[in-house]
Symmetry: C2
Subunit: 435 residues, 2 copies
């Protein structure tokens, strides 16, 4: 990794600039493809899904929904140690997300005027789990656990079929562990379209969650513009490790490598205090990397992953300018203050908190804002699966006391029917009292 | 208003179908105009803002930012009773939004694994306040109060200039009351573009809030697709009143009229128990309407605003199918159960809780999801101005105990660098203990 020293704020920002995504004509082409796929699913439903799956996933499927028997069969294929690991992860994720339940707090804002807020589950949600070489079982838990906890009435899961038209048994097991039995073997932007518009087999949902490639991401942006909610805008994964000279270079190197294996467009940034430490990390990266299976992916990611040597003030500035999805702090207690961290998705504090913990099983959610979106977005949480309704109840007296304020403001906004709704009630109260 | 009885679920859904917005070629034209305006502001900054303001608002302005002296002058122009009303409203809004502050709850999900969540303000937010015949001062409070409470560091406000190039003094006063001094006289989609991209005068913000016409709404959807956060998708305002036969028809009529005066595309739906009551409400609507100034707007809105006679079960079903922005319940206590209400923006309970209270001064926010978006979106709250960062800290022992789970899950996902980040630490701990 390139070591950069004595950078100005602007130079540092430039040094950690994320690799540019698809642009220009290739992006226009992708957008056009997605648009066509969406339109086909919208107008031709299941028929389009069968055709697109054959064309894009290279497999002819016979049913879109995964049968109960397939789910039952999957149970038998999963190793018992993995089952136990999934149960442990699920329990921790449940515990942490359960702590996000908001209790109802009634507030008497003025005498006789009571306001409060109550959460209600989003009725119908769709979870997208990408395919690929290995099953993203942890993502099933990260989306499935809070969806069930929130009380969503309909929870469906879409994932692309493999070459045999199957969904990986570990995904089926993880879904089932959460209590999700409605699984569809459809992937890509066609899955997003199916969940947004509904087809004969797949119900239309209110909100779509989950990661995916650029087709999936673009499809999610399109359905969002048309009114279906989505979890958040997505981009490649990233980590920023902030270390002091007392940190263990092996730990730091391992955390950078864990990020880099995600993909060639991933970014792993280190901010440290000295060139000596930076060099130690570089050596450790080289040593550890040779034992890892995704070495070429890692090399590609590290191409645009610098080490920035910076003092504490500049480091904080750069962290907040960058807004990392994951921030790992490997510094002694007196070398940082968490309140300085303003923009980040999830923060891993201390030497024994690798990102791996949060990715899988500590309890926090791993669906987090990338691409600097941590400036304005939170990661997925229980909140993502509910909406909050405000309520108010005014007593006769409460309305009377507030009426002068309401009348003046309605007058100022020239909304006399708004004022009338207060006047009519006051008149009635006056007449009732006088009679 | 048309009275409809004995409807099936589908017929009832059809009866309350919202009036269709702009579509087809006229929508394509609007989109094209907005696109051009956005592009101009993006590439030519302030220069484009001056030109567009002259062209679209019909006034040549000399400065984009409102000077402190203009804000000071506005203070002197506001009536003292209105000032008092604004202070009362502000106090109540503050009280209710203050109650939404989330306290940090640290959770030990498993032994030695501590997870928690902390809120951080969105650094820079832009509030859009539409122009028009009357100043939307209440919206200034509804957006300004939570923005300040959340601790947003930069809060800017854009609003179109009047024929004299001025912002209404009441808007300036309300902004100043919240503590907002950075006001720009720019409106329409050009204001949204300026806040999303930044110009020489107007800083780029992280998130844009506020209502507006179709140009503003379309511009907000466009910048959302490009990465700027927005409060929520918007549509015309609406109310659903649910009454029993014991309700006061005058109150019900007044609430329907208050909604209808918003615009010809507004919708005011009544669900009640009998045709007799429906007819009483219709008579009261006729009587009250003649005294109101926006009679023609009201008539247009009531064209597509039906009265549906339905029993309790069908009523609940229709309310949740519709997902009203505002729901007013004028029923005796044993005639409803708030837990039945699943989809609504804000609920007004009982005869003395007119929507006017929540629109102005009870304390709840009046920026709410319309167009059925209450199915998946919450109204604006303190949450809208913060994001929540998760944190975790594992002890040596915490990591050791969780390591088996982490290793198994990393193996199952074929991410060996993820596993390596755990292994490296365990190895170090083993060696340290053994040495």
């Amino acid at each position: 990794m390139k070591i950069l020293e004595k950078l100005s704020r602007e130079e540092a920002q430039k040094a950690v600039k994320r690799p540019a995504g698809m642009q220009g004509t290739s992006f226009a082409q992708l957008r056009n493809s997605v648009d066509q796929i969406m339109e086909q699913v919208k107008t031709r439903g299941d028929k389009a899904l069968f055709e697109l799956t054959e064309k894009l996933d290279g497999v002819a499927i016979h049913s879109i929904q995964v049968h109960d028997a397939e789910i039952e069969a999957a149970m038998l294929l999963i190793d018992k140690d993995l089952k136990k690991a999934l149960r442990t992860a699920k329990r921790n994720i449940e515990k942490f997300h359960q702590s996000q339940v908001e209790e109802v707090r009634k507030v008497e804002t003025s005498s006789g005027v009571t306001c409060w807020r109550e959460s209600r589950p989003i009725e119908s949600v769709g979870l997208y789990i990408p395919g690929g070489r290995a099953p993203l079982i942890s993502t099933v838990l990260m989306l499935g656990v809070p969806a069930v906890l929130a009380g969503c009435r309909q929870i469906i899961l879409c994932s692309p079929p493999d070459a045999h038209g199957q969904i990986h048994p570990a995904i089926l097991y993880a879904a089932s562990l959460c209590g999700i039995r409605e699984v569809y073997r459809v992937g890509g932007s066609q899955a997003i379209a199916a969940m947004a518009y509904g087809t004969e087999s797949i119900p239309k949902v209110d909100k779509i969650f989950g990661p995916g490639n650029q087709y999936v991401t673009e499809a999610k942006m399109m359905v969002q513009s048309a009114g279906t909610a989505i979890d958040m805008p997505a981009g490649p994964s990233e980590v920023l490790v902030w270390a002091d000279d007392q940190a263990n270079p092996d730990f730091v190197a391992a955390d950078l490598l864990a990020q880099a294996e995600h993909g060639p467009d991933s970014q792993a940034v280190l901010i440290c205090e000295s060139k000596t430490f930076a060099e130690k990390v570089n050596r450790a990266v080289g040593q550890q990397k040779s034992h890892l299976s995704r070495e070429s992916t890692i090399d590609a990611a590290l191409e645009h992953s610098p080490i920035v040597v910076a003092d504490r003030v500049s480091a904080i500035q750069l962290i907040n300018d960058y807004g990392p999805e994951h921030l790992i702090i490997q510094r002694e207690r007196h070398h940082y203050d968490l309140s300085d961290i303003q923009h980040a998705g999830s923060v891993f504090v201390g030497p024994y908190s690798p990102e791996t913990a949060g990715d899988y099983a500590s309890g926090t959610n791993h669906t987090l804002p990338t691409n600097g979106y941590a400036r304005m977005h939170s990661g997925v949480s229980l909140d993502s699966f509910v909406k909050k309704i405000t309520f108010q109840e005014l007593t006769q007296d409460g309305l009377k006391k507030l009426s002068g304020t309401l009348q003046l403001l309605a007058d100022a906004e020239s909304l006399d029917a708004h004022r009338n709704a207060v006047d009519v009630r006051l008149k009635y109260l006056d007449e009732t009292v006088n009679s």
